[in-house]
Subunit: 560 residues, 2 copies
Amino acid sequence: MTKPAPDDELVFLPLGGSGEIGMNLNAYGYGPPDARQWIVVDIGVTFGREDATPGIDLILPDPSYLEEVRDNILGIVLTHAHEDHIGALGWLWPRLKAPCYATPFTAALIREKLREHGLLEKVPLTEIPLKGKLTLGPFDIDFVTLTHSIPEPNGLAIRTPLGLIWHTGDWKIDPDPLIGETTDVAKLQAMAEEGILAMVCDSTNVFVEGSTGSESDVRKKLTEVIAQCTGRVAVTAFASNVARVETALHAARAAGRTPCLVGRSMHRIYHAAKSVGLLQNSPPVIDEEDAGSLPDEKVLFLCTGSQGEARAALSRIARGDHRNVSLRQGDTVIFSSRVIPGNEAAIHALYEAFLGRGVELITADDHHIHVSGHPARDELKQMYQWARPRIAIPVHGEMRHIREHVKLAQALQVPETIAPNNGDMIRLAPGPVALIDEVPAGRLYVDGSVIIETEDDAIKDRRRLAAEGAVNIALAVGAKNVILAGPNVSVRGLTMPDEDDLELALEELERTAEAAFAKLSHADRGDDDAIEGAVMRSVRKAAEKLWRKRPLVDVSVLRL
Amino acid sequence: MTKPAPDDELVFLPLGGSGEIGMNLNAYGYGPPDARQWIVVDIGVTFGREDATPGIDLILPDPSYLEEVRDNILGIVLTHAHEDHIGALGWLWPRLKAPCYATPFTAALIREKLREHGLLEKVPLTEIPLKGKLTLGPFDIDFVTLTHSIPEPNGLAIRTPLGLIWHTGDWKIDPDPLIGETTDVAKLQAMAEEGILAMVCDSTNVFVEGSTGSESDVRKKLTEVIAQCTGRVAVTAFASNVARVETALHAARAAGRTPCLVGRSMHRIYHAAKSVGLLQNSPPVIDEEDAGSLPDEKVLFLCTGSQGEARAALSRIARGDHRNVSLRQGDTVIFSSRVIPGNEAAIHALYEAFLGRGVELITADDHHIHVSGHPARDELKQMYQWARPRIAIPVHGEMRHIREHVKLAQALQVPETIAPNNGDMIRLAPGPVALIDEVPAGRLYVDGSVIIETEDDAIKDRRRLAAEGAVNIALAVGAKNVILAGPNVSVRGLTMPDEDDLELALEELERTAEAAFAKLSHADRGDDDAIEGAVMRSVRKAAEKLWRKRPLVDVSVLRL
């Protein structure tokens, strides 16, 4: 490896995932401050919640800083295939246009995303084998095998002339992950011998004592639980946890049930897994359409929707409006999943809907049928013992997780620690770790087909429409500045306990609009903006009296 | 007590709180099926969540069945002053018009509510002393002192010619509740001797093992924690937990800090408590406006907003826009509260906002500074041992709580159990417990100043506006059925990445509207509904292409 030039610096720049769980976007820069070369590690999404962000399915990290330096981005390296690590690639690649690198399973899912965005032919995507290597300018990268809740979780050993960074990505220590190898401890120990300058590490479960537990424990328990079920059985789990999917398929076979995949992402991941040689010993699955012909005791549905997502398979089944799958008294739904914070209300509503149908529920609350993919405290301690970094940089967490992780690292006597926020430019070398700059960071919304800012007026208006409703007014004004027709008034999202009251309210708003026009000077009547402003203000005031609400008022003046 | 007539039945009818936590409304009926006399027990609200039900602050139980029988309602008995037990009185009393009964502290808070609704002079409200009695037709009611998280929690022993009902209300077993007496065990044992036909019982914490713990433990711990704080301290807790408020006041004094109440309901409850003789030994509180002059180490703010409510004191402080209170690096916020399911996201956002300001957080996650007001399993078992009812009827819970509570009662060998849903008319006697009818039950929304149905079109429209936005179109059509002005098109909640794109989109919608008009037959052009329908459909389709969204389209035709 070349020696560093006197001006060279090594910097870390988190742009997503530090201050929130989800939506990871990290960058490493090397070189003199005015000519840094960059690699990007992961580029994920977070999901909008129907209630909190209506109309917004996806939330992206704001890549504007990287866009500015895009000519110096050497590559985008994806650690694993979870949506919070690869989900933004299709949306944001056109702004960055750098070549992409990933291991085979991750690459298979990325290709699918790129195909949806019409980018498959445009994006240079290189497959790196497990435990493979990659050199991008001053960055020598080793892919290090870890365990997580998806196939092919990789940490990155990033060697630079100024030191070795250990970027963990998402991980846990699963002694028996069922799919893939166990944690490459020998490699970690060798890296520690070499000397790790900085470890950039997952903080998700820093508040969880002990260890996470193994997928193999879940296999044992889930197989038992399913064997004891009568009636139909539906299991819900994250599709991307292929080991868990395999567990469900094996448990179905053991219980004499034919498995049936339900939900788009279940099929998507199943096929991606097959394409890279996974799930070879699993029983064949049956189509939804054909599952109806099986006796209740002979079928197991493996469904998407463990988080209560309204449009996912499980919610449809709970509502009784799934095309091919129905559950009733005597059937069982098994949640082999956790409750992601923020989804509690939706998931509880799902529970209640199934209970209302007389369906039995089995959850991880009282059965050991789920384990997390992220390291609990004992695993974090083990990782620090293996890696012995000079600097600890917790990422992948809300601020409270990151702060707690810093405290843990300090307790473990890591010499230097820093709690990063998205947008913090952190110098790792030379000299002690330091915050040297802050760059723009934030979120973008995918709103239908367009990407918009979170504080776009459109979003503010929608929020207001949701709470306060709308009043729409149209009036035609003639050349002599008199009203020739209207004002027509309609309301949306506003009502009265009965029709007559509503009628009276609309009449009152009409009178208010007329009066506002009548009060204008002759000059103002010739000015559409003046008319719209005056009518808007008067009508809003009247609406406030009628409903104790402040609706959006839209006034349209038609000139004749 | 008179003997029952041959036709007499005793029925229980939950109309709120069975199938949800919050919004309690229960009724007991006695007499022949065609001439039952009723008492109503509690009439509470639940709170709308800004994200789930925008514009809706309060949710009420639908009282329409009780409205039908209101001439036979003998009284409304309120067990305690929590909003989920009394909060709907001001809104729904005009539909029921029955006299009300409550103990002094509850009555003080009810009077305030009635005053706000202009009902203070209209509602007959009788104060019943603690451990007092009340006879309403065939119902002889004893108020039984329990412990909970508010002063004066009462269970009701409801004696009828067909048996004794033990309606627990909300309770726990607090051996040292700090305010009020301990659970009246002697009374419970005497009732058991007499024979309890049915126990209608709180299910909130049926999934919680062990016992809840005492307010006095919290006092000890919170006093310790506050003594160790440096800088400013803010404590948040439910204002209605007067024992907790007293704890904060005493702990402030012990730490040499002057307490300051922040938030409307904190003041409201403080004064109600004072008015019934509570909080007599607490230190005086200082006004918000004057707290700024105290050194940081000499003040303790007692704040509303533990659930992350956007408009409450704590959220304002976190955002840095509270008029009188600010917190910064070195200050501490203490959450002496729990996370109510559904509020996780809002509360975590609040945590993050404080951490972002460098404020330390202390929560019940790692310090014993909160206890629940509801019975955990060991307390439920104790209650069943005391009461030994013939029938167990779990209420005050989601279906999963109620089902689990039924299982618990069965395990405790209660002879009969039933899991009620809101609207289930349950016969308690004569004969075995039975579901004999189902009546309308549900929710109503308080929307600004009006009460509306949850599935009102206004609500559906608002939900759609929130996700999809709106397109408003106005056009003026002359006597000859040609467009004289417009179409004017405006959008709300829809945007494009740049101004020019948005301009082009609006032009496209205008052309679409014109084309839709042009395609109409001459007859249809004379029909405003036909024009509106055709334009609406075409514009919606065009909008879907432009944005992949289905906005609400409002078309206004002005006739000249």
